[in-house]
């Protein structure tokens, strides 16, 4: 277990306050109306949380990844959508911070992000790729004025309409192979988002993630120069799986806490009498412990690889962080389902203080954001190659 710096602890406590005072207050409405959690994101901006992972010398908070992960879980307990928006933004920021390699444009961009608390959305999904992020169809084009551009058909763009900037995967050029990709940071002001479909889902409703045809214009400086595969294996994929999992852990923890409140109330009403729900809650606790153990150990392994990030590109590491995603995405809903059975009908009611419907619905998104079946297909091949797991 690493030791968090005072700055990290202060950051987490600030996020916890935003989670309980702002995100929680609007969570039901955000869910019901499928609207962006604007109040919570505004509070995160006011706390300068959007630049938490930006190094201090570039105007950011210089907060550790461990603290960011714990913040995802704190937010996840109160409002899954806020937590997922926060997590995804940190994944984009993290990828830029870790791979900008001293590029002046990106350094100055991060200063601007810190000053204005800009929110970054990502455009990674694409119609026609079957969910495979390591291939792109849309490619970078060069206009007559020399400006670069792309047009990408993206089936889901989380909070795209609410972002200040977009980080998009595209082919290096229209003639390049689908696997020859780059990451482009385009400003919303230079990007047209033509809506394609709606976002009326069973959960994660406040992430507002409909599809868009994305048309952007940008300069060559706005392309991250690092090899795409390095960014994928050292940041985008493992960081996504770690931060998402902390969001899911937060959701499951909240459901469990509701179960605990319910059981506590029942036991207080009739002290000494057996409460069957208490027994089943104890079973759910072991499910939650397994989720926590998987998520925590993966975080520690990710942090342990920091001095030698190339390690994250080995087959063993890819399998490790893929398994985190698979395990956590299946375990979090299992905990919510368990709590549903502990509490019974009061958990099934939307207007009950013991309701866990929102948590259950939100947690179900986990297995679909990068479909688990796709990850199993990747792992199946890698398992044949890996020598030690």
């Amino acid at each position: 277990m690493s030791v968090l710096a005072d700055r990290d602890l202060e950051f987490i406590s600030g996020i916890r306050q935003i989670a309980t005072e702002v995100a929680a207050a609007h969570a039901d409405e955000v869910d019901r109306d499928a609207r962006f959690p604007a109040e919570a994101v505004q509070a995160l901006r006011a706390a300068r949380a959007l630049s938490a992972y930006v190094p201090e010398e570039l105007g950011g908070g210089g907060v550790s990844l461990e603290a960011i992960a714990r913040a995802c879980s704190e937010l996840g307990r109160r409002c899954s959508s806020t937590a997922m928006v926060f997590a995804m933004h940190q994944i984009q920021v993290g990828t830029i911070v870790r791979h900008l390699d001293g590029a002046p444009w990106f350094e100055s961009y991060l200063r601007e992000l810190a000053a204005d608390q800009r929110l970054i959305a990502s455009v990674t999904s694409e119609i026609g790729t079957g969910g495979d992020m390591s291939r792109s169809i849309a490619g970078v084009t060069t206009g007559e004025d020399g400006k670069l551009g792309f047009e990408k058909q993206a089936p889901t763009v989380s909070y795209g309409a609410h972002a200040d900037d977009l980080l998009t995967t595209v082919r290096r050029s229209e003639g390049a192979e689908p696997s020859d990709q780059v990451l482009v940071l385009s400003r919303a002001s230079d990007t047209e988002l033509e809506p394609m479909g709606t976002w009326d889902t069973i959960g994660m409703r406040g992430t507002c993630s409909p599809g868009f045809v994305v048309r952007a214009r940008f300069s060559r400086d706005q392309i991250l120069a690092a090899p795409f595969s390095t960014m994928m294996s050292e940041s985008l994929v493992p960081l996504s799986h770690v931060l998402w999992s902390f969001v899911w852990l937060g959701i499951a923890t909240e459901a469990f806490d509701r179960g605990r409140s319910f059981v506590r109330q029942a036991m207080r009403k009739s002290p000494g009498k057996p409460v069957p729900a208490a027994h089943s809650l104890s079973r759910v606790m072991s499910e939650l412990s397994m989720l926590r153990a998987e998520v925590e150990s993966a975080l520690q392994e990710f942090l342990a690889a920091e001095p030698d990030r190339e390690r994250l590109g080995t087959v063993a590491a890819v399998l490790r962080f893929n398994n985190l995603k698979l395990a956590a995405s299946e375990q979090a809903p299992r905990v919510c389902m368990g709590v549903l059975e502990v509490i019974g009908i009061a958990a099934y009611k939307n207007d009950s203080q013991f309701g866990v419907g929102r948590q259950l619905r939100d947690a179900l998104s986990a297995r679909l954001m990068v479909a688990n079946e796709r990850i199993h297909t990747i792992d199946a091949g890698l398992l044949a190659l890996a020598k030690e797991l």
Binding site: D132, S134, R135, R172, A176, E177, P178, S179, D180, S229, T230, S233, E310, G313, T314, V315, A316, T377, I378, G381, L382, A384, L385, A386, K387, E388
Partner: protein, 85 residues
Amino acid sequence: MSDALIEDIRGVLRDHARLPVDVEAISVDADLFAAGMSSHASVNVMLALEDTFDIEFPDRMLKRSVFDTISGIAAAIDELQAQAA
């Protein structure tokens, strides 16, 4: 690395990398992923290389940077064969 080794590697790539271009046209230092090898195909390439050369790539070698060029693959195989010899 010998020419024969390079030719054998090209043979594996021809059968398993599913490249949209002729393998002969790819220089030993060209990025195979940029040339169109998918992540999925690269796994098949690694497995076929293990079978063809009767070797096992240790986990430390199982990363994209080892397999992104023909010369990288050849260096890895050379190293393993030297160890075995």
